[in-house]
């Protein structure tokens, strides 16, 4: 090959070099091939075929990047001669033009040619050359799409094939046409498809800027000028953006200055939108607390207060989350309803009005109860307006209106949920109304059933249960209810000294599959025992007692269960419990008590454990803590709390916290109960348990934790992140023993001190918005100024008295009295009004 090169037969040398490199593919073969190409390029230059030489050089440099050094001496010789369009395309007339050279020329055409007119009139190509024809067609198309609307036919451009170097121009023409048709999605698609190295791609940023996809992208002066001419860079848009920025700055003067240009531009460009703009600006100014009189001037007149305005204003106000504004928003939603009906948006008795009523009720639910009650009272007192005029302030009225207009389960459900949170039996009333209108809905039936059961009306409850079973017998609540209600009914019959009826109930109970699960057979046996005792069947009583003992595998457990059932049936004679004498029975007492406690909870049976038994349980617990499962530990813990045995509750919580993550939140709540003497720890543990419970979607636990801290206003601001809650859990796990003077437990001062309660921080912590807490105290005008003195312990009180004081408060709390009520009772003054009372 070297010889061929030396002899001037470059073409043959090149062919052989290609073959060799194809076979071997080594660095040496590549070097040889590049040399062959170099000789070929030199030969072309010698024949003055610069274009061909340049195309070939470009191709070799691109394909073999390592060749750049070897070809360096050729580069200036080739590039020194500038290429005219004629020179570039002339080789294309040669039918034998090598494919590589054709590709190279096509690439340059694609990348560099921007003047389609010149190409269309290029004399170096034959008149009927396809490139000239394609360029001419594209030029016509570009003139057309930039001068007026065009049809799709005008953009078919069959002269431009997909393989043509001018194909990107076809996409550009279609992108521009789509842009003018406002088919922006199509425009974007065409722009995306344009080869990023082709000449038309220079227009892509300009078009994207006009589409406002990339409004702030740096543009060339020509591109900026194009945008300005086509979209006017919209002076209106600029004026509106300036006004938006002024609102964002919250500077009143800046806002007022920016209003007039926007309004003027709007009047010129889009006068039909002026009213809408005025309304939006008015609302934003009102939200920015700018005097409406100062706004009217720049606006060129007042805004129209129609349904659109009222809706906009109401929405803006409710999003401030300020209680006063939210009340005003409710009022405006009511005004909106009237205006919308007047303007024909919707009918007064349609689903829209119902949705509005629910929305207003939902807004009122966000307000502190005291504030709302005050507003309701003063609204009623300050006006003679009755009925509908003040409905917007009363959830009950709003829910009723919604359910009347749109008796949908969702509406009733919201009403019932609200009513359940109010004192009294409102939820039952709502359920009755719901059931009357929609007898096939299960929710109200279950509510009515539970309410009847709670007040001891078991036959009524069983009646509702029958209805519920006909609707959905597989429902979890329905399945469990029959056993519980029948058992309750049997006990009631025994209380009423009607053993025959109780026997019938027992017969029904025995047929239930649920009655055969777990320890329930023992409960049934105990019930039979009490029933037999009521009939004086002493032999059968003895046999049944043995049955119960056998089923539970423990004498004390059997005695405890029989005692609980007998107490529930008011059979005091057999309800008495003796002491546990046997040593082995004493050792197993925690397990026996826990088992019966779980069964009693399952059957809604009240369990009273003698103090001596609990003392023995506490004594034996350390030895058997490992043998109890988590459910039994939990029940035992609840008994310990009920009995006021904090140390036992603490020990049980320690054992429970070792049982793994699933039940950790539950035992953290028990720890909260066990540390009630240490208020801070008590609160933090309860709040951490609530956070962990929420994470596990255990709503019952969250509710219990919330109930535990309700009324502790001093700690209302405390809220924990999940991470903090886990940290509390770990600290409590490590604190295996109750704290003493010499062994202080975990301290949570940092958690109690720095918890920001602004809405964004609460949202960042993933908490529900409770945005009004910071306003509560201010709103409570009758709360004394010295309200921050904890529970009113007088300053300077000796420490030992403080301790006694704290113990008394604790006792009061256990009795269900709030610390305030306790203080008030001590001082013989009436209790101060609080927003919420602590209930246990």
């Amino acid at each position: 090959m070297r010889q061929l090169i030396a002899s001037g037969d470059h073409k043959a040398a090149l062919e052989q070099a290609k073959d060799l490199h194809k076979v071997s593919g080594t660095l040496a073969s590549e070097a040889l091939l590049v040399d062959a190409y170099a000789e070929r390029i030199r030969a072309l230059l010698r024949r003055n075929l610069t274009i061909e030489a340049q195309s070939l050089l470009d191709m070799v440099r691109q394909r073999y990047p390592a060749s750049r050094v070897r070809l360096a001496e050729l580069t200036p010789r080739v590039e020194a001669k500038p290429l005219s369009l004629d020179d570039l395309v002339r080789p294309l007339n040669d039918p034998d033009l090598a494919a590589e050279q054709r590709t190279a020329i096509d690439r340059r055409l694609r990348q560099e040619v921007w003047d389609l007119k010149a190409l269309a009139h290029c004399d170096a190509l034959a008149l009927d050359h396809e490139l000239r024809k394609a360029a001419a067609a594209l030029e016509r198309a570009l003139v057309a799409v930039t001068s007026g609307p065009v049809t799709d036919d005008a953009l078919a451009l069959p002269e431009v094939s997909r393989r043509s170097p001018l194909a990107p121009w076809k996409l550009l023409a279609r992108a521009i046409a789509s842009f003018y048709r406002r088919d922006d999605d199509a425009c974007r698609r065409y722009l995306e498809a344009i080869d990023s190295e082709s000449a038309p791609t220079r227009l892509v940023p300009a078009i994207k800027a006009m589409l406002a996809d990339d409004a702030h992208a740096p543009l060339t002066p020509a591109a900026a000028a194009l945008g300005a001419r086509i979209t006017s860079a919209s002076t209106l848009r600029r004026a509106l953006e300036a006004l938006d920025e002024a609102f964002a700055s919250a500077s009143k003067n800046r806002i007022l200055k920016a209003i007039r240009p926007a309004v003027d531009q709007c009047q010129q460009v889009s006068p039909e939108q002026l009213d809408s703009l005025r309304q939006h600006v008015s609302v934003r100014c009102a939200l920015a607390v700018i005097d409406s009189q100062r706004v009217v001037g720049p606006l060129g007149g007042p805004s129209r207060h129609d349904a659109t305005f009222l809706r906009l204003f109401a929405r803006g106000l409710e999003e401030t989350r300020n209680p006063d504004q939210v009340v005003l928003a409710c009022r405006l939603w009511e005004d909106f309803r009237h205006a919308a009906v007047r303007e024909g948006w919707f009918a007064d008795n349609g689903p829209e009005a119902a949705a509005l009523a629910l929305h207003m009720a939902d807004l009122l639910n966000q307000l502190p109860n005291d504030l709302l009650r005050d507003l309701q009272w003063s609204a009623r007192a300050g006006t003679n307006e009755g009925g509908d005029k003040l409905t917007y302030l009363f959830q009950e009225e709003l829910y009723r209106r919604a359910c009347v207009l749109d008796p949908h389960p969702e509406s009733f459900s919201q009403w019932m949920e609200w009513a359940a949170r109010q004192p009294g039996n409102g939820a039952e009333r709502v359920a009755t109304a719901w059931h009357k209108i929609r007898p096939r809905d299960l929710d109200p039936i279950l509510r009515l059933m539970n309410a009847a059961e709670a007040r001891g009306a078991l036959p009524t409850a069983l009646g509702y249960l029958g209805k519920a079973e006909r609707i959905d017998s597989l429902h979890l609540q329905v399945r469990g209810a029959r056993l519980r209600l029948l058992a309750g009914n049997a006990l009631r019959h025994l209380q009423q000294k009607k053993p025959a009826l109780a026997t019938e109930d027992l017969a029904q109970l025995s047929t239930l599959p649920d009655a055969q699960q777990g320890d329930r057979p023992a409960f049934l046996a105990a019930l039979r025992l009490v029933s037999s005792a009521a009939r004086g069947e002493s032999e059968r009583v003895a046999a049944l007692r043995a049955d119960v003992e056998q089923l539970l595998g423990s004498g004390p457990a059997a005695a405890l269960l029989v005692s609980a059932v007998a107490a529930a049936a008011k059979q005091r004679a057999i309800a008495r419990l003796g002491s546990v004498e046997d040593e082995s029975e004493r050792r197993s007492l925690p397990s026996a008590v826990a088992r019966v406690a779980a069964l009693a909870a399952d059957m809604s049976l009240k369990l009273e454990i003698p103090a001596s038994w609990m003392v023995e349980v506490a004594k034996q617990f350390p030895e058997c803590r490992q043998t109890l499962d988590a459910a039994h530990l939990r029940r035992l813990g609840e008994l310990a709390v009920w009995a006021g045995m904090d140390d036992l509750a603490y020990a049980i919580s320690t054992a429970g916290l070792e049982r793994g993550e699933t039940t950790a939140a539950r035992f953290l709540l028990l720890r909260a109960n066990a540390t009630i003497k240490s208020w801070e720890r008590h609160i933090v543990c309860a709040k951490a348990a609530a956070v962990l419970g929420r994470e596990q979607q255990d709503t019952a636990l969250v509710d219990e934790a919330a109930a535990l801290v309700r009324g502790f206003f001093e700690f209302e601001h405390v809220s924990l992140t999940l991470e903090q809650a886990r940290d509390v859990l770990n600290q409590e796990k490590a604190a295996r023993e109750p704290s003493t003077k010499g062994r202080p437990g975990p301290t949570y001062a940092a958690l109690l001190a720095n918890t920001c309660q602004c809405v964004s921080c609460r949202q960042a912590r993933g908490e529900a918005d409770e945005p009004f807490d910071d306003l509560d105290v201010d709103d409570d005008e009758d709360v004394d100024d010295d309200d921050d003195s904890g529970f009113g312990i007088p300053p300077g009180m000796p420490p030992e008295l403080v301790e006694m004081f704290a113990a008394e408060i604790e006792k009061a709390v256990r009795r269900g009295e709030s610390p305030e009520e306790f203080m008030a009772r001590l001082s013989t003054l009436p209790p101060r009004r609080r927003r919420r009372k602590r209930r246990r």
Binding site: T146, F179, L226, T231, R311, A355
Partner: protein
């Protein structure tokens, strides 16, 4: 984003129209080829498929803080035909 706009339907569209628009959009943007657009379409459909949710959306989905320019229909921002020269100036790289 406004679900009605995403689906290309009027605010008073019927259930059938909504479903047809949804299916059409999904065909245009199938989940395997355009997962993000499909998500947007799916969310929009979820927001309006239930008549009650649709009604609530119509009543309450107004953004008083949206950019003021969004109040104006595209016609308020006209796109003028200016002939080929300003376009060619950009291509020339001026």
């Amino acid at each position: 984003m406004d679900p009605f706009q995403v689906l290309g339907i009027a605010q008073d569209a019927t259930d059938e129209q909504i479903r047809a628009a949804y299916l059409l959009r999904v065909r245009e943007h199938p989940p395997d080829r355009a997962p993000e657009q499909f998500e947007t379409i799916r969310d929009a459909y979820e927001a309006v498929r239930d008549p009650r949710r649709r009604l609530r959306h119509r009543l309450f989905a107004i953004d008083h803080g949206a950019p003021l320019a969004s109040l104006f229909a595209p016609e308020a921002h006209p796109r003028r035909f200016v002939g080929p020269d300003p376009w060619l100036d950009v291509l020339k790289g001026k």
